[in-house]
Amino acid sequence: MSSKALNKKMDMLLARELAGELSHSKKSRTLRKLHANKLAVIGSGIFLVILILCIFAPLFTRFSSTDVDLRNRLSPPGSVHIFGTDQIGRDIWARILYGGRVSILVGMGSAIGATIIGVSFGTYAGYKGGFLDAMIMKTSELFMSFPQIILVLILVTITGQSLWNIIFIFVLTGWPSMYRMTRSQMLSIREEEYVQALRAFGINDFLIAFKHMLPNAIGPIFVNITLSTAMFILQESALSFLGLGVPSNVSTWGNVLSPAQNITILRENWWIWLPVGSVLTIFVLAINFIGDGLRDAADPTQIG
């Protein structure tokens, strides 16, 4: 039971970490720990700012992300278009904000989808073991023996390009690592005495796995959700940059960046790629800071 109490303590720490409370309280923590938490707090701040800007995009720009204005093509940043316009006169700032909605949706949606599948498989199969576990393990090995981007592009060829197909593909290629992570957690929790006790009481396998064991593995799962959100946002941007992701009429950060493949635009029209590239990088950086902070908070060896 002591491990349960410890986990409860960790969960509380985790919750407070998310709320950003820990950065200036606990004096017992080491300096390095404080430093890491500061980054997590800064990360959450940046994350929220960009999220709010994107969700409430109409409040922050009066332009649409799709309206073409051929008289104002490639105009540099100025008082009307604060980040200028692209090669068919769309406002860059509006495209960054509205594009963020889609990019963040793809990143978070895929991460959550992959987590739900990977964690449910991992929890049940990791607890039960046997044939089911071996089958799912083999399947995940199959997925993981492909280089990630090759597999994604093969699936793009089969399903065609659309927003929902991209999310579906990311979920399909993302669940195996989630599954393996959860499974290894469950394998160690399975040996604990309280699980044996529950089993001796004849409690239903589903209940043991999902209600009693899964909550004790939740820390690393949250770390993985944040880190894979960042990874999927990067992957979406790379795919869309190559013209193989979300269809180009939908604004996403990758689609906004893709004109930079043209050498002339790259050299002469920095405002087309630099602002959106920076927003993308800063957002991913912020998520990684949050993920690292969560990892430190969830790691029992690092609690001071």
């Binding site: 199959l142 280089p147 060829t157």
Partner: protein, 319 residues
């Protein structure tokens, strides 16, 4: 030893069997069959249904799906990997023409990332919590967060346009085939790809070096009065190397996959660019076969890594 290697290869067979089946399923799932691609659309109206059926049966397309799969698998084993839908060129020719360029780029990048990553990782571990250590870990975080293609574009702007140090893209100028002549083409894409893979190695080798420095044998070595560099490098780093070698094994899929985006930006005529072109034009046979080859390479590479670690680490037994 020999039986260990043989067993590893035998384990490969069921995996390849399943993957080849999925790959074939992918080819079959695409609308249309070989006959549709052999006859141009305007001729299609003039060809009678019997003639079409005749063609399908000569090609074996009227046979049930499992039979067709085994025919395809037989062709595969004989080295017939199918043909490009657009140009009719054999897929094996296309792969063989582009694979060397990709391997050249990605092996260079793997070397750069391994050397730079382990050097920087050990350096930060030895100067734990110093300004340099913190600066490197922040740089590593930014390195992971910046999209690879953006990093590549910025490198092009700075080193090609502003400084003029490197040619703008491609693998070689016409007529320059010797490695030294085309070396300047390789430098920038290899460094960009290598640096974008460095952060992971750096983080990992820093952690394993720190772990190894805390061990008793390092303290023993120090208490014997050995010079500090010898303690760190000979006693600390040698043991820290093993997990780093394992990490490099995990990164082998990147040899093929990681280069796709960088190849596109630098117009490097490798497998990745050819693959992207095939994905764009829905050229299924090429897409599927590149997928098959990359899995094959990854699996073979991981066997080689297994064997190498077994040779290097005496604790691993061959069974």
């Amino acid at each position: 030893m020999v039986s260990y290697i043989l067993r590893k290869f035998l384990h490969l067979i069921p995996m390849l069997f399943v993957i080849s089946f999925l790959i074939y399923l992918g080819i079959e799932l695409m609308p249309g069959d070989a006959v549709d691609f052999m006859i141009s659309p305007d001729e299609m109206a003039t060809v009678s249904a019997e003639a079409l059926a005749q063609m399908r049966s000569t090609l074996g397309l009227d046979k049930p799906f499992p039979v067709r799969y085994f025919i395809w698998l037989g062709n595969l084993l004989r080295g017939d990997f199918g043909y490009s839908l657009q140009s009719g060129v054999a897929v094996s020719t296309l792969v063989m023409n582009t694979l060397p360029a990709t391997l050249e780029l990605s092996v260079a990048a793997l070397l750069i990332s391994t050397l730079a990553g382990s050097f920087l990782g050990v350096f930060s571990a030895l100067r734990k919590n110093s300004i340099a250590d913190n600066a490197l870990s922040i740089a590593g975080m930014i390195g992971v967060a910046i999209p690879q293609f953006l990093f590549g574009l910025i490198a092009i702007i700075v080193f090609v346009f502003n400084l003029g140090w490197f040619p703008v893209g491609g693998r070689m100028a016409p007529g320059q085939e010797a490695f030294l002549q085309r070396f300047e083409y390789l430098v920038l894409p290899a460094i960009v790809l290598g640096l974008s893979m460095t952060a992971g190695v750096m983080r990992y080798s820093r952690a394993s070096m720190l772990d190894s420095l805390n061990r008793d044998y390092v303290k023993t070595a120090r208490s014997k009065g050995l010079p500090e560099w010898r303690v760190n490098l000979v006693h600390g780093f040698r043991v820290a190397c093993t997990p780093v070698a394992v990490l490099i094994g995990f990164r082998l899929p990147m040899l093929i996959g990681g280069a796709v985006v960088i190849e596109q930006i630098f117009q490097w005529p490798g497998l990745g660019v050819m693959f992207l072109g095939a994905v764009r034009s829905q050229n299924t046979p090429i897409v599927m076969m590149v997928g098959f080859f990359s899995v094959l390479l990854v699996l073979l590479a991981s066997i080689i890594v297994d064997i190498l670690t077994a040779i290097l680490d005496p604790r691993i037994k061959f069974n």
